[in-house]
């Protein structure tokens, strides 16, 4: 899984920075955006293999960000993150085109598994 480029979008900076470092240690290339607007701008200007997107952020919400990402690149796999205790918003994200969702706190192995699955699906598509 070398040279896989992941974009992490979450306003919790210490969360994304740490997650990015853990992904880097596993051979991924990680970039960070702290809000939906910056994430969209990064996607418009460079290519990513997968996006990890938090649902609840100030400004543009996770679902609005997802909608705009899909307008730029429909095929780009997006995995949603939610701190909510229910799966409702995650399911809504999947209905809008996200490939999967995960609840916070994360299990890194589960995230890696979902990234792999998302990339495999993306290759098939």
């Amino acid at each position: 899984m070398d040279n896989i480029k992941v974009l992490l979008i979450d306003d919790e900076i210490e969360f994304v920075e740490t997650l990015a470092e853990r992904l880097e240690l596993r051979g991924y290339t990680s970039k960070i955006a702290q809000d939906g607007e910056s994430g969209i701008s990064m996607i418009a200007n460079e290519s990513f293999d997968v996006v990890i997107l938090d649902l609840m952020m100030p400004g543009l919400s996770g679902l609005d960000t997802l909608r705009q990402i899909k307008e730029i690149d429909k095929a780009l796999p997006v995995i949603m993150l939610t701190g909510h205790g229910s799966t409702k918003d995650g399911m809504e994200g999947m209905r809008m085109g996200a490939v999967d969702f995960l609840m916070k706190p994360l299990d890194i192995n589960e995230l890696l598994e979902k990234i792999k699955l998302a990339l495999n699906e993306s290759l098939k598509g």
Binding site: E12, E14, F15, R22, K104, P105
Partner: protein, 220 residues
């Protein structure tokens, strides 16, 4: 109106609790990732693939400490907030009650881009009221200002202890608004109808005055 009010209180308690517990999930997520990173670094160091991990481990420890304090502040605030529902009538310290409510609902307002703060109140202002309903009204005043004006602004709460009256200013920090404009926008909003109806239940009064853009709440 009584039916609507009785339904409002659980909804308010639920909204605040959901927001705080979401924040706590974030705190736990950071602690989990940071301890995971420490484990990654330690394993790589043990297998000889990484040297000089001391600085990184030190940063991780600082992050965990910081998030622990954040978590404690959130849970203490939520606990204090939850206990305000213990009684439907009792003496509350206005500053302490509002400061805690703002502190734990910060994320809800930041979500909309607004920054809410309260000015330090040296004099202890205490009132006998329904604590949850009082906080619900204060919350509704803040929401009313955020929803009816540009949310990306700041709102300041200022408690004023006058000779015979305690009052709270919800000041929307925008000098460009004229009295006619903000009075029209606030008093014609759905929230205003709710605020004034709720105020009647606990001898509070809400007004929009020419003195400042925002809402003036005072105990009758």
């Amino acid at each position: 109106m009584q039916v609507e009010i009785s339904n409002d209180k659980p909804a308010f308690l639920g909204k605040v609790t959901a927001s705080v517990t979401h924040d706590i999930q974030n705190v736990l997520a950071i602690i989990k990732e940071t301890s995971g990173l420490m484990e990654d670094l330690f394993l790589m160091h043990q297998s000889g693939n990484l040297e000089n991990i001391e600085e990184k481990i030190g940063t991780c420890i600082k992050t965990i400490k910081k998030q622990t304090y954040r978590g404690v502040k959130l849970t203490s605030g939520l606990n204090g907030f939850a206990h305000t529902a213990d009684t439907s009538q009792g003496a509350i310290n206005i500053f302490e009650t509002l400061e805690r409510m703002i502190s734990i609902t910060e994320r809800l307002f930041k979500q909309k881009g607004a920054d809410v703060s309260i000015l330090e109140c040296k004099k202890a202002c205490s009132v006998d009221t329904d604590p949850v309903l009082f906080q619900l009204i204060a919350f509704a005043c803040i929401e009313c200002l955020i929803d009816n004006f540009d949310a990306r602004a700041s709102i300041t709460l200022d408690i004023q202890s006058l000779a015979d009256q305690t009052a709270i200013q919800f000041l929307y920090n925008d000098d460009t608004l004229t009295y006619e404009d903000y009075n029209q926008q606030i008093t014609h909003s759905d929230q205003w109808i709710k605020i004034t109806a709720l105020c009647e239940q606990i001898s509070l009064s809400a007004e929009v005055t020419a003195d400042f853009p925002g809402i003036f709440l005072f105990f009758k």
